[in-house]
Amino acid sequence: MKKYSVFAIAREAMRGHKGWEEQWSSPEPKKEYDVIIVGAGGHGLATAYYLATVHGVTNVAVLEKGWLGGGNTGRNTTIIRSNYLYDESAGIYDHALKLWDGLSQELNYNVMYSPRGVMMLAHNIHDIQVLKRHVHANRLNGIDNEWLTPEQAKEFCPPLNISRNARYPVMGASLQRRGGTARHDAVAWGYARGASARGVHIIQNCEVTGVKRAPNGAVTGVETTRGFIGARKVGVVAAGHSSVIMNMAGVRMPLESYPLQALVSEPVKPVVPCVVMSNTVHAYISQSDKGELVIGAGTDQYVSYSQTGGLHILQHTLDAICEMFPIFTRMKMLRSWGGIVDVTPDRSPILAKTPVPGLYVNCGWGTGGFKATPGSGHVFAHTIAKDDPHPINAPFTIERFRTGRLIDEAAAAAVAH
């Protein structure tokens, strides 16, 4: 892997850019690997990268039915934050946030992590109580979060409407300054490049159609559209399709898959300097470096794998955006799209061993998995390599739905859905 640097740019400029190499190779699948990762999204590629770099496991294949980073990694709104209520969540999301800081340097790939601040608005007394509780809980866990008055919120984000005459007036906000955004595609590409350079095989257009198990129940490999590929360890990181893959191994999951939509506006000059979220009116917005407003909507109410959603969901979100930012009422929207998110009953992810020996699962990130990409891959690689969870992901088992030891962020309102 040739290092990217200002000298590389100068060198290539002198010789007509003929020396750039492919960022990752596309080898033919081998008959057998030590580890197979199902799903080449951010989480799957990060898992492969940390298996190679931290644990020295390089005989790894990442299988992807479509193209690399073409699922939810390329469809999310790129928001990064760690201001979750519970200790377990704070642990895993802040682990990720610490890895974001310095990820570009580690990968030698600009993931454009921009800690521009994530502001969450309070519109009523209940919101104030909930958000202040989050501020205090976060601080006890060593996570930065602070309370802003409406005037301070407007100072931090000038286009925000804090008029008392608004239908849902802004009564305050919490601000995590280390939160922000990153370039989602670059995260997948950077991890893919780093993993490929260390010998990981990234195999696109290779759909897993079955999971093979030995008579004793242990995993022996996967059937794919490109033939059988053997492995004694298989990690399922398939987002909305995780339950489909797990069913192939005979494991029924506490998951439901829903369409989640997002949209972007035409590009404009810098106007929104941070990320603004509101759970009460249900909208969140940031501005990409290209200038597009990136707006996240909610999930549809029914199980679907269609990667599209209802227009009324987008309309509901845009109503809220116009309420918060009257300046955008005549902004034109360019594109909208949907991704399929796998949601657990407690809205916390599952990163764990499964009842099937050799089968591991990293799923249930629901509507907010992008922010966790580095941390998720890091601890999941540990879980696979050691056949034992990392202390950070130890609480995120499948068994918690039997024992009742849930991580109930669903009721904690840090999650915007």
Binding site: S243, R252, Y305, S306, H312
Partner: protein, 98 residues
């Protein structure tokens, strides 16, 4: 937006009038307190989440307010049929490809 046929009102109405109420034909045990942890997990948390034909409950919230069941393809979001609550799970599906 989906168009959903309410089997009680006997007409197609826009999705905004309805609330999805999750997977259908999951029976609650009459002795819920004596359920084992395994059985309670299956009843309460585990879902089939199929890519394909799903049997699900809907409620005509802003119409007759009654619950009913529907059969839908989760890939195309096309409804195959709807039927009244309490009716048995249909064996034959009209126009089902698979």
């Amino acid at each position: 937006m989906l168009l959903i046929r309410c089997p009680y009102c006997e007409e197609e109405r826009p999705e905004l009038e309805f609330r999805n109420a999750g997977e259908a034909h999951i029976a609650r045990s009459p002795n819920i307190a004596s359920e084992s942890d395994d059985d309670f997990e299956k009843f309460f948390f585990i879902r089939s989440n199929p890519k394909g034909i799903i049997y699900e409950r809907w409620r005509h919230m802003h119409g007759c307010a009654r619950f009913f069941n529907a059969v839908r393809d989760t890939v195309s979001d096309r409804f195959l049929m709807t039927y009244k609550a309490g009716e048995p799970k249909p064996v034959k599906l009209p126009g089902a490809a698979k």
